[in-house]
């Protein structure tokens, strides 16, 4: 559930409720907002979007029969 860097506190808390974090929203709203802001900062530091068809790491591997 990505949040934008400029998302307002009430919007973040509403989203957090949808994620199931009602207790945290009720007891620690500042922590919920801080977490959402940190998530936005992390995404903003990522490199430019790559080719969507690139293989992610780690590639799927089947188990070797033992």
């Amino acid at each position: 559930m990505p949040v934008k860097a400029n998302e307002s506190g009430p919007d973040v808390l509403a989203l957090a409720r949808k994620i199931g974090l009602e207790k945290a929203v009720h007891e620690f709203p500042d922590d919920v907002i801080a977490a959402a802001q940190a998530a936005a900062r992390t995404r903003s530091d990522l490199p430019a979007t790559n080719n969507p068809a690139d293989e992610p790491w780690p590639p799927m591997r089947v188990r070797t029969p033992s």
Binding site: M1, P2, V3, V12, L15, A16, I19, G20, L21, E22, K23, A24, E27, F28, D31, V32, A34, A35, A36, A38, A39, A40, T42, R43, D45, L46, P47, T49, N50, N51, D54, E55, P56, W57, P58
Partner: protein
């Protein structure tokens, strides 16, 4: 003879062989020191006195009878309390798992027992190997032996503090974004994050499955090699474990640096995240010493530190949220504030964010592998700043993220932290050396060459 509590594992083995020291004498000396110093340092969550003395008596009988099992037989070790020891609680320094009694030993503990090591107790950490030094947990945070008003780094905080204070000669740490190498840097010791998959993660509470490593924390490079010899090896019960044959990791410790090509990743600390001037000067000095020892030091460029760190962070945040989501929904108040804030971040990423990060990861692994065409070992900054006061939340929050460790959790390459100086205020400085995947032998060779030439590892805190 050096006081018993400052002996390295290698020296302890020699002292046992020459009958100058016995396991019972050493364990008793360490227990006395723990009793005297740990009330200030909080390095231990639990000291297992009776079990340690029993194991010491057994080791003593075996060694006297000529049945020594190897270099770690009778050598005490401290265990980060995120690693299972059968019959003891694995609390992860958290209220959430206070009553979590381990049913069986972690793979690394089984290996240590087979090597004859003596488990002294469980060491403190940042809650669940994340968060930071916190005062709202069931156990107090570990302190820095160089200045107990300062933090000792983390998350393997107790491991770093116990080694620097001479409470243990060896410790195990875990490292997902630098948690072995950060306390090693801040406490002035050696911390080795091995190649991903070399040491089994089975029985270690996960923080982020694809980034978690277990590794040695010691007071010298030779001991890191000995401890890695004991804990490395394939484990079919860890899906990430790699079936490589383990050599003697210290095979080249005496070869010196002559002929080694060292790639100095200057942009990490010069432009990406400009380091404290004392850190930058110390890194230049490492480069100078390695050159004097016969290495060829050349400047190497990797992807920008900000991007490497962000990709590692997103993966860590997503994976750790997946692990903690239920508890965060039901028991958010049972976490420390710092931990809660970090573990909830992943709730605000999407599935696509995670997949995109894993796509970038593949390219970044390739970029670091490419750098090893022109270098045998990389030299980089470790922490960009010396330790701050443990109660200075703002500086802690700012400086913890200023580091160059997490890129190598992302790529899985082995990396070692080494003391490389002291600040004017008497706090340790540290450099990081990075090796090719599964080439711990060359990495340890370079580290030993620097250690021998610089002798920073012989400095002790004024405790």
């Amino acid at each position: 003879m050096t006081e018993a509590h400052w002996l390295t594992a290698g020296e302890i083995g020699s002292a046992y062989a020459a009958r100058r020291l016995s396991p019972v004498e050493l364990v008793q000396a360490l227990l006395n020191r723990i009793s005297a110093l740990d009330p200030q340092l909080n390095a231990f969550i639990r000291v297992d006195i009776e079990a340690a003395l029993d194991a010491a008596r057994d080791a003593e009988k075996d060694i006297v009878a000529g049945r020594a099992r190897g270099p770690l037989h009778g050598v005490p070790i401290g265990i980060k309390d995120i690693i299972d020891v059968a019959g003891l609680p694995t609390t992860c320094h958290s209220k959430i798992l206070l009553d979590n009694i381990a049913a069986e030993d972690a793979a690394v503990i089984s290996r240590l027992r087979a090597a004859g090591a003596i488990l002294l107790g469980k060491l403190s950490l940042h809650e669940f190997a994340t968060g930071g030094p916190s005062f709202d947990l069931p156990f107090p945070p570990a302190r820095n032996p160089w200045n107990i008003a300062h933090h000792p780094g983390g998350s393997s905080s107790g491991s770093g503090a116990a080694l620097a204070a001479g409470l243990v000669p060896l410790a195990l740490g875990t490292d997902t974004g630098g948690s072995i190498r950060n306390p090693a840097a801040i406490c002035g010791i050696v911390g080795l994050k091995p190649t991903y998959g070399l040491v089994s993660r089975r029985g270690v509470f996960p923080l982020a499955f694809t980034l978690d490593h277990i590794g040695p924390m010691t007071r010298c490079v030779g001991d890191a090699a000995l401890l890695l010899d004991a804990i490395a090896g394939h484990d079919a019960r860890d899906p990430g474990s790699v079936p490589v044959s383990c050599s003697r990791f210290g095979a080249d410790l005496e070869r010196g640096a002559r002929g080694l090509r060292i790639g100095f990743v200057r942009h990490f600390h010069e432009t990406d995240l400009p380091a404290d001037p004392e850190v930058a000067r110390a890194l230049d000095d490492v480069s100078r010493v390695l050159t004097q020892e016969g290495a060829e030091v050349r400047t190497i460029t990797l992807p920008p530190l900000r991007e490497l760190s962000a990709v590692q962070r997103l993966i860590m945040q997503a994976e750790s949220w997946a692990i903690h989501a239920s508890w965060l929904r039901e028991r958010p108040g049972d976490y420390a504030r710092a931990t809660r804030r970090k573990l909830m971040i992943g709730a605000f990423h999407s599935a696509a964010d995670y997949v995109h990060a894993q796509q970038h990861r593949l390219q970044m692994i390739a970029a670091v592998d490419d750098a090893f065409r022109d270098a045998d070992v990389l030299l980089t900054a470790n922490a960009m700043d010396p330790a701050c006061r443990i109660d200075d939340e703002d500086t802690l929050a700012r400086t913890y993220a200023r580091q160059a460790r997490s890129p190598f959790n992302l790529t899985g390459h082995p990396a070692i932290a080494l003391m490389c100086g002291l600040t004017k205020t008497g706090l340790p400085l540290s450099a990081q050396l990075v090796g090719r995947a599964h080439d711990e032998v060359t990495l340890l060779r370079a580290a030993a060459a620097y250690e021998r030439a610089s002798e920073w590892h012989r400095h002790r805190p004024p405790i």
